[in-house]
């Protein structure tokens, strides 16, 4: 149903005034929290199958504002003249957005949300901008562990057809592998749907930094991340030196696909995110 508890505004921002963002704010409850949503790949700011809009409206019903944002060249935002190359431009966009929020909404606690390549950007934003108090990552970073490999083998053994397919793929790999020199060699379409997992030590350092800054973050993994994520405690096991349990929550939804295409999967993940947000920001100011 349309959210009757919200006000929607469109803003254009950025150093070239080329970026478009839709802000949805609550009318009845106000928690002074703002969730910034970054594009998933090349999908416009409404999100895959309108997920960002549905999430915005579920959040606003709980008094949490949201900002659906298009990076340069995606959705309603333009490529600026003299734009930087691909990812660099998008990181510059995030700098512009951060400055804009600081200027216009200084009282809000700001969270970042990203799915797929959006999760990659969200991670980098959380590292580079002190403005943000936490993040929500859908199919973000994870590293294989002993438990991951054990489950992978067990899953293969459960399904003979998969086992045969896996062996076939392994045998044919040298013939079919396409050589990609670097991320920069990929075209925009491919770049926008792929990201390279940074070295584990780098992510460990980021997490340590986030712990020092008292950030909270939520990692949600779908079945689409099965290539590198297979069980709920995998992140904790991958970083045994860090006390992540209190700050980093992990939800594993193996039945969902990477883009939460099925309506029920989408509803479920939205509900979980909203619940998690409510627990992180309990104060409610009645307007």
């Amino acid at each position: 149903m349309p959210s009757e508890n919200s006000i929607q505004d469109v803003f254009t921002l950025g150093r070239h005034n080329h970026l478009v963002a839709i802000m949805e704010r609550p009318c009845l409850l106000e928690r002074q929290q703002l969730v910034v949503m970054i594009n998933a790949g090349l999908v416009p700011h409404v999100g895959p199958f309108r997920m960002h809009v549905d999430l915005s409206r579920a959040l606003v019903d709980q008094g949490i504002a949201s900002l659906r944002f298009d990076l340069s060249g995606i959705g309603d935002s333009q490529w600026p003249i003299n734009a930087a190359v691909g990812v660099e431009q998008h990181l510059q966009d995030m700098d512009d957005l951060t400055a804009w929020i600081q200027q216009n909404f200084p009282d809000y606690s700001v969270w970042v949300f990203g799915s797929c390549t959006g999760a990659d950007y969200a991670h980098q934003v959380l590292c580079h901008h002190a403005l943000f108090v936490g993040g929500i990552f859908l199919d973000g970073y994870a590293y294989p562990t002993f438990g991951f490999h054990a489950r992978k083998i067990a899953d293969l053994l459960k399904s003979p057809s998969r086992l045969i397919a896996a062996i076939g793929r392994r045998c044919l790999q040298p013939l079919t592998r396409k050589k990609v020199e670097s991320h920069a060699d990929l075209n925009l379409e491919t770049q926008s749907f792929t990201w390279t997992l940074p070295p584990k030590t780098e992510t460990e350092q980021d997490y340590q930094d986030w712990l020092n800054r008292n950030l909270f973050w939520l990692n949600v993994f779908s079945g689409g991340a099965h290539d590198y994520f297979r069980y709920s405690h995998q992140i904790y096991d991958a970083f045994p030196k860090l006390a992540l349990q209190e700050r980093c929550e992990i939800i594993h939804l193996p039945r969902a696909d990477h883009l939460y295409t099925r309506v029920l999967d989408r509803k479920m993940v939205i509900e979980m995110i909203v619940d998690w947000m409510i627990n992180r920001c309990p104060e409610v100011v009645k307007l």
Partner: protein
């Protein structure tokens, strides 16, 4: 040449409609064109195409208004509860808003896929009036469209690469299908197809689309029609239009395009569409007929 873009929410009877406007600052115009998007997953595939086409039309001197239909994109409402009538009402509201706020006097419309069919049918019923209606790959057989959508959805939910867990034992795959059917029944006869619940109103309306009902009948229609589609879609065209009195005066242009798009490939339901051939043909045709005195 500078194209000025503005984005706003326009109040409608059912909430707010998100509208993007594109104007050529060097060529002020009183001729407006409304872009009506496709529905469901096709909206996401066509979004980039629509923004590019909006710019191309603005460069030619149109005042372009691209809208998100009720229950779609940033507009208010849920897709499952939206109806074709709400869409027609929203288009009329946007038209009135354009007349009052942007001083647009002459109107054309460009509908993509189901957006094109909606424009054409509403125009035949005199629910919408435009000088020119252009439709890109309009749906000309609603039952075929629905069946293709249903079939693509079934393939998608059984796709082991997409729904990884269904790989581990066939029983899970079966239970997924059962669960899907049960949940569908619970949603007031709504049907899930490629990411969205289609409500009874849209389902019923879509089933009524036929080539014969869609074909421009000059005696009823005030708008001029331009259809751009592939030869395969328009193969039944001569038969369906045999009843039309061609002497009544209205022109009807059917063009084919080289752009080959598989709309129902479940592996590419989120992939962007780059239909350059179609874009250029549509822009040329709209310029030719919308600006004609």
């Amino acid at each position: 040449m500078t194209i000025e873009r503005q984005f706003q929410f326009i109040p409608t009877d059912t909430g707010q409609c998100y509208v993007a406007t594109y104007q050529n600052t060097d060529k002020k115009s009183t001729t407006g064109i409304i872009l009506v998007p496709p529905i469901g997953h096709e909206y996401f595939r066509c979004h980039h195409w629509m923004t590019e086409t909006s710019v191309a039309l603005a460069e030619q001197g149109f005042y372009v208004l691209r809208l998100d239909g009720p229950g779609q994109g940033d507009s208010t409402g849920d897709w499952v509860h939206s109806t074709p009538q709400q869409w027609i009402d929203a288009i009329n509201v946007v038209k009135t808003w354009g007349r009052d706020h942007l001083a647009i006097r002459r109107w054309a419309a460009l509908g993509i896929r189901m957006g094109g069919s909606l424009l054409q049918l509403a125009s035949l019923q005199n629910l919408l009036t435009f000088r020119v209606i252009a439709a890109w790959q309009p749906i000309v057989q609603g039952t075929d469209y629905l069946n293709n959508l249903r079939a693509a959805h079934q393939v998608m939910i059984r796709d082991h690469r997409r729904f990884w867990l269904s790989q581990i034992g066939n029983t899970i795959s079966e239970s997924l299908t059962k669960e899907w059917m049960q949940k569908n029944i619970q949603q007031n006869n709504a049907e899930e197809c490629l990411g969205f619940y289609y409500g009874p109103s849209w389902l019923e309306w879509m089933q009524a689309i036929t080539m014969k009902a869609m074909a421009p009948a000059s005696q009823y229609q005030k708008s001029q029609s331009i259809w751009l589609s592939d030869k395969h879609t328009l193969k039944n065209l001569p038969e369906a239009t045999a009843h039309i009195d061609g002497a009544a005066g209205s022109e009807w242009i059917v063009q084919t395009t080289e752009d080959d798009i598989n709309w129902f490939d479940p592996n590419h339901i989120e992939q962007r569409i780059y239909a350059t051939d179609a874009k250029m043909q549509l822009v040329d045709a709209l310029v030719k007929y919308a600006f004609r005195k």
